[in-house]
Amino acid sequence: MSIVKKLLPIDYLDMNGIECWLEDLSRQGLAFVKFGSFFVHFRRGEPREVRYHAEPLGALSAAMTKEQAYYSAQHGWLSVGQFGQNFKLYCALDPETEDFHTDPVTQSYALDNLNQKLLRNSVLLCVCIVAMAALLVLPALTSNFGPVWHLVEFSSPT
């Protein structure tokens, strides 16, 4: 069994792009195995026409996610693992399998949770950046001599 590792060539939040990329690789005989730290791992085999669906995580409880995976398998969508931290990946071996989502409004609810999670992370990142900047700047501003003294000290000939 030969494993092929590939870098993700698209944004890791581009659901449609991820699905199309995996489907293209499947046509070239590369079946998705797992999403590693740096690379996406594939198993080389026969070219297959399959469909992938990336479902945002976080909209359902853990128990409901398990039940959904079981129900999905009965309807042709096999859970093939997690894609990054944000998506659970499903694969339909029959390209004619019914869509994973049959109501676009409902699908938007699933995306809402992901949207909120990303917004929270962005806010947290901004707070961290401001805190780090403050830690770097404040000691210089509040020292006895201040930043001007530092400039004089470092630019004076010894």
């Binding site: 128990a63 959904q68 999905s72 309807h75 989502h101 049959t102 938007s108 699933a110 809402d112």
Partner: protein, 105 residues
């Protein structure tokens, strides 16, 4: 950013609410009910079904009544029943409008 409110139910959501009117159901039974009731016109994909159940539970339209292994059964709450009645009234008003428009034509 707040969650979207469920001001209008989609057809799929409406049928899921309807499925609980007479008895408590689990996911598979809901899908079977909707398919039978609509003669296959309305389909419930796995993503749609469980997202609706999670959202209805959050909105307190339904609540979990039993867990048997992997099977979780839900029942309709009073709030869910009232929401269903509102939607039926809205749909009846739509039909009345259609009929009055057709009579005038």
């Amino acid at each position: 950013m707040g969650k979207k409110s469920m001001e209008a139910l989609t057809e799929t959501m409406f049928y899921v609410l309807m499925s609980f009117l007479k008895r408590d159901l689990c996911g598979t039974e809901i899908a079977d009910f909707v398919e039978t009731k609509t003669k296959g016109r309305v389909r419930l994909g796995p993503g749609t079904l469980y997202t609706i159940l999670a959202r209805f539970e959050e909105e307190q339209f339904i609540r979990e009544v039993s867990v048997l292994g992997r099977k979780r059964t839900y029942c309709l709450t009073d709030k869910g029943r009232a929401r269903y009645a509102d939607e039926v009234s809205r749909l009846r008003a739509c039909i009345t409008d259609v009929e009055s428009e057709e009579e005038q034509a």
